[in-house]
Assembly symmetry: C2
């Protein structure tokens, strides 16, 4: 469509390429930015442009930081004998929010997915093996998502790491808290039944 | 929340300020940009930062352009005796898409809304009066939205412009094409009944 401005058309096309944003939303966002305070649009633009330059991934665990190592890896109060393996940096935030975990993390930046051509070499897996090899680690909790790809990745990790004499566990499966049987899918109910616990 | 990077936190806060984007979506977008190609994020950032500098509003009608006047105002084939008044630049695009209108436009950049403190002086209304005063204009079609504010604005325009001997019309109201009585609201049905047409 002809928006009357090449810059605006380019911006709408760029925004529409973001996940979950279609042309209509992209158009609304672009027109909002056009009407917004000069500062707001400029600040947002500069933040996006400088993002890749400023933000790095922790050289130990792969989570987000602006330094060499992330705050969690540098925190002396964390338990250095447990590593929780997650798919992406957002999962670290979710687990930290629970305040129930005091160990370290390891971010894979993806999951094994042969269909999409993602093999072990495309993930942050070699570094995990190195960390376990060093001997300090007693347990690796695999917190990948409960999907086919997540489970495949969990099995792959277990196979690679168990030879080093380290326990590998994964997050429990069952009914979500506050959920109802009525709204749970077959797989979840079957899984909850199979893993039933003594009261 | 502590994202491990000040730049990332700032970006998520900035994105969450956009219309229709909450913290969760902002977080997803920011992490996507972090993973995206270097070029993609940088290009998007630069487009947003330069938007306000590059894009201007046509000095005649107020719609979007990168020059002094917009393409529609400069097009000699358009009918210069009709002006269609719209709330925002997006409405020009919508009307152009129908390919049913060959006149000029006038963008108000808002609607009268005393509750939000938006009076006639905050809108592009004085310029409209000037255009009509010049004498060339035969008809002003008010295409504001069928809301209380849109109707108030339409009435205000009619009152200001009719003294210059120019016809003021507004878009028809009734059932939308392809719609069904079942899903139309009371006001729309009442309005369609009142404005019934002979077959």
């Amino acid at each position: 469509m002809d928006y009357g401005s090449e810059t605006l058309s380019d911006l709408i096309r760029s925004l529409a390429r973001l996940p979950g944003i279609g042309t209509k939303t992209a158009q609304r966002l672009a027109l909002h930015l056009l009407k917004a305070d000069d500062e707001e649009a400029e600040k947002l633009g500069n933040l996006i442009a400088s993002l890749r330059e400023k933000v790095r991934f922790c050289k130990a665990c792969g989570s987000i930081t602006e330094k060499e190592e992330c705050a969690i890896c540098m925190d002396p109060s964390r338990n250095r004998e447990i590593i929780c393996v997650v798919e992406g940096p957002q999962d670290v935030l979710l687990l930290e929010k629970t305040r129930h975990y005091k160990g370290l993390y390891h971010v894979l930046h993806g999951v094994l997915s042969p269909i999409d051509g993602i093999g072990p070499e495309n993930l942050n897996l070699a570094a995990l093996e190195q960390r376990v090899k060093s001997g300090e680690i007693k347990e690796v909790i695999v917190a990948t998502n409960p999907t086919v790809e997540g489970d495949t990745t969990a099995l792959y990790i277990a196979k690679t790491i168990e030879p080093y004499g380290c326990t590998v566990t994964r997050l429990a499966r069952g009914l979500p808290m506050g959920g109802s049987l009525e709204f749970a899918d077959d797989m979840t109910i079957a899984s909850a039944l199979e893993r039933r616990e003594k009261i």
